[in-house]
């Protein structure tokens, strides 16, 4: 207990900080400063540079004119100008722009450099490195298949992840709490766990009636190991004094497990959930590439087979957005569940 520091604060401050997760961000964010013009202009200027390069520098490769790339740049230019015009009126927009404008500005300039290196000067070999025009063109033109693939990947990922987590929580709590389960379970966990789930692919193909089931099983297996390991260690490291206190309050076995050991292990469990999510992405892509005939992993290898590298990069962009969105969701869940913890890392 950091008694001395806390007691110096006025009580109202303690109260307001204690009111909820929303309040927590209040003292983490930097103090209010005026938006600097270079921040506001980053996106419009970046978009203008990219547009100028796109239209003024002669192209070496012959690309089918899709105009999606300049369209995206124009939209960014328009939104950038609009945001700069409106930002004095909306505090939320102001905060967002201050944080995001430099990054988005640099992103547009990067796109421009990329176009110079590929479409304009042909510094990188074709067909492996198409220009932004080609990538954004295939992103838009193949959108229905991409959307379909993303949907299939999402369903597969969620079913595998949920199954793996559900089993892992049961095995982790059992191994962590019961000495007998630990004796018999730990060796199995230590030997089988570290094998990468993808190494089981040959066996999974033989055992499972369909590629889809084997993919779900593999993802579940990939998630199971880290979540079980971290859950078990979290449970068995529950502070003995919490358990002692609970016993003297009249707690039975169920209370000790579900209301003391599991909450105490939650920070650990979430580390396992994050590690499991990482391995599940990997396993998802591999499983889709070799077995399941749908999803983003399948799309990438299929596009590569036809040497359509514009589509490969398009799918990679979708994958990046897809995985990082899921990661963000898990962080949000963690922040909600572990609101009682001090000093959690922000995503």
């Amino acid at each position: 207990m950091s008694a001395s520091v806390e007691e110096l604060r006025p009580q109202t401050a303690i109260l307001s900080r204690a009111q909820g997760p929303g309040e927590e961000t209040a003292y983490v964010s930097p103090p209010v400063v005026r938006s600097r013009p270079q921040t506001l202009l980053a996106v419009p200027v970046g978009a203008c540079i990219a547009l100028a390069i796109h239209f003024l520098v002669p192209k070496r490769e012959v690309v089918p004119p899709t105009h999606y790339y300049p369209l995206i740049l124009s939209v960014m230019l328009g939104l950038g100008v609009l945001g700069a015009a409106l930002h004095p009126f909306f505090a939320g927009l102001r905060k967002w722009m201050r944080q995001m404008c430099p990054i988005l500005g640099v992103a547009t300039v990067t796109a421009a450099v990329w176009e110079l290196a590929t479409s304009c000067f042909g510094l990188l070999p074709l067909p492996y490195f198409p220009g932004p025009e080609g990538v954004f063109g295939s992103l838009v033109s193949d959108r229905s298949l991409l959307f379909d693939s993303t949907w299939h990947s999402l369903v597969l990922l969620i079913s595998g992840y949920a199954l793996g987590v559900a089993i892992a929580l049961i095995t982790g709590v059992t191994i962590g709490w019961f000495a007998h389960a630990r004796y018999w379970g730990m060796p199995l966990l230590k030997i089988v766990g570290p094998i990468p789930a993808t190494a089981w692919i040959p066996l999974a193909m033989v055992l499972s009636p369909s590629a889809l089931f084997s993919a779900i099983g593999l993802i579940a297996l990939a998630v199971w190991f880290p979540v079980t390991m971290l859950t078990a260690s979290g449970i068995s490291n529950t502070r003995a004094s919490y358990l002692d206190v609970a016993r003297t309050l009249g707690a039975g076995q169920a209370y000790l497990i579900f209301r003391v050991a599991i909450p105490a292990a939650l920070p650990n469990i979430f580390i396992g959930l994050f590690m499991g999510l990482g391995t599940s992405f990997l396993t998802l892509v591999v499983a889709e590439t070799v077995g399941v005939k749908s999803g983003l992993g399948w799309y990438v290898s299929w596009a590569q087979g036809w040497a359509e590298y514009g589509k490969v990069y398009g799918a990679l962009i979708i994958m990046a957005a897809f995985f990082s969105t899921i990661m963000t969701v898990l962080f949000k869940v963690r922040d909600r569940v572990l609101v009682w913890q001090k000093g959690v890392i922000k995503w």
């Binding site: 207990m1 008694a3 007691e7 109260l15 204690a18 004094s241 003297t248 309050l249 209370y255 009682w340």
Partner: protein, 270 residues
């Protein structure tokens, strides 16, 4: 060794320890093994507040853990009323030096914990507000423990233990980690809870002043193995004056019993 004097009629919330010994086996050859308690006998009548003082390693905490039922005595008998102690129970509340609040629960939910654990939250929900008021924490109902100061956290721990209306409340240096002023305020707070509920209390402490200020009797233990050296009744009216001659005289006596007094040191030629 002090003779055990048990009254003929045993009240339900009295506490009896009869020739209790605790032997710890040495773990991996470490020097922690051995006899922690050696045939300790103690009778605490219902509603009495008894302090246990003694240097560290004299088995005070072991004695408390035996009474709580968290560890079992190697030999001897412990009883609350007429029932032998075999396991932890809500009848015997325990408050540690570290408040050990559940960090994932708000102040209110921490105080409720005992009711939830016994499955009586629905029937006794009114108790929660009562105990939060009793320890003056209504305003912090929804705060999480890491927002609380040491004194506030310990008040929550007291309320959490008291809400079960234990027959015996065991206090293991509950105020040991607090600063001197918070500590004196909390001593009054504990006394107030004791007066209101007439709970039998056994207080382990390092602080002789605290023992004299609070208790009806003071048990002096010596190490090792833990034995009861002497039991000293405190016959002063409450609230007690920490600087009165009686208080200071008693303090001197206790220090002398524990061989810390200047007189005895001088006498030994140290």
């Amino acid at each position: 060794m002090v003779a055990l004097s048990e009254p003929a009629a045993i009240e339900a919330s009295s506490l009896r320890v009869r020739r209790a010994s605790k032997y710890f086996a040495a773990i991996n050859g470490a020097a922690v093994g051995g006899l922690a308690l050696d045939k300790v006998s103690l009778f605490v009548s219902a509603g009495e507040l008894v302090s246990v003082v003694g240097p560290s390693g004299c088995g005070k905490s072991t004695l408390l853990r035996l009474i709580a039922g968290l560890t079992l005595a190697t030999e001897g008998e412990l009883l609350v009323g007429d029932e032998p102690i075999t396991a932890p129970s809500a009848e015997r509340g325990l408050v540690f030096q570290d408040p050990n609040l559940f960090p994932w629960l708000t102040v209110r939910r921490n105080i409720e914990a005992g009711l939830v654990a016994r499955g009586v939250l629905k029937q006794e929900r009114g108790q929660v507000d009562k105990f939060m008021r009793l320890v003056g924490l209504e305003a912090f109902a929804d705060a999480f423990p890491h927002h609380l100061s040491g004194g506030m956290a310990q008040r929550v721990a007291l309320a959490r233990a008291m809400i079960n209306h234990p027959k015996v409340l065991l206090l293991d240096e509950p105020l040991g980690a607090l600063d001197a002023f918070t500590r004196m305020r909390m001593q009054d707070e504990v006394l107030r809870l004791w007066r209101v509920h007439r709970t039998t209390m056994l207080l382990v402490t390092h602080d002789i002043d605290e023992a004299i200020y609070m208790s009806d009797r003071i048990v002096i233990m010596t190490p090792p193995p833990g034995r009861i050296e002497q039991i000293i009744p405190v016959k002063m009216d409450r609230p007690r004056d920490r600087s009165s001659p009686d208080f200071l005289r008693l303090r001197g006596d206790i220090l002398e019993t524990m061989h810390f007094a200047g007189r005895s040191l001088a006498g030994n030629g140290v």
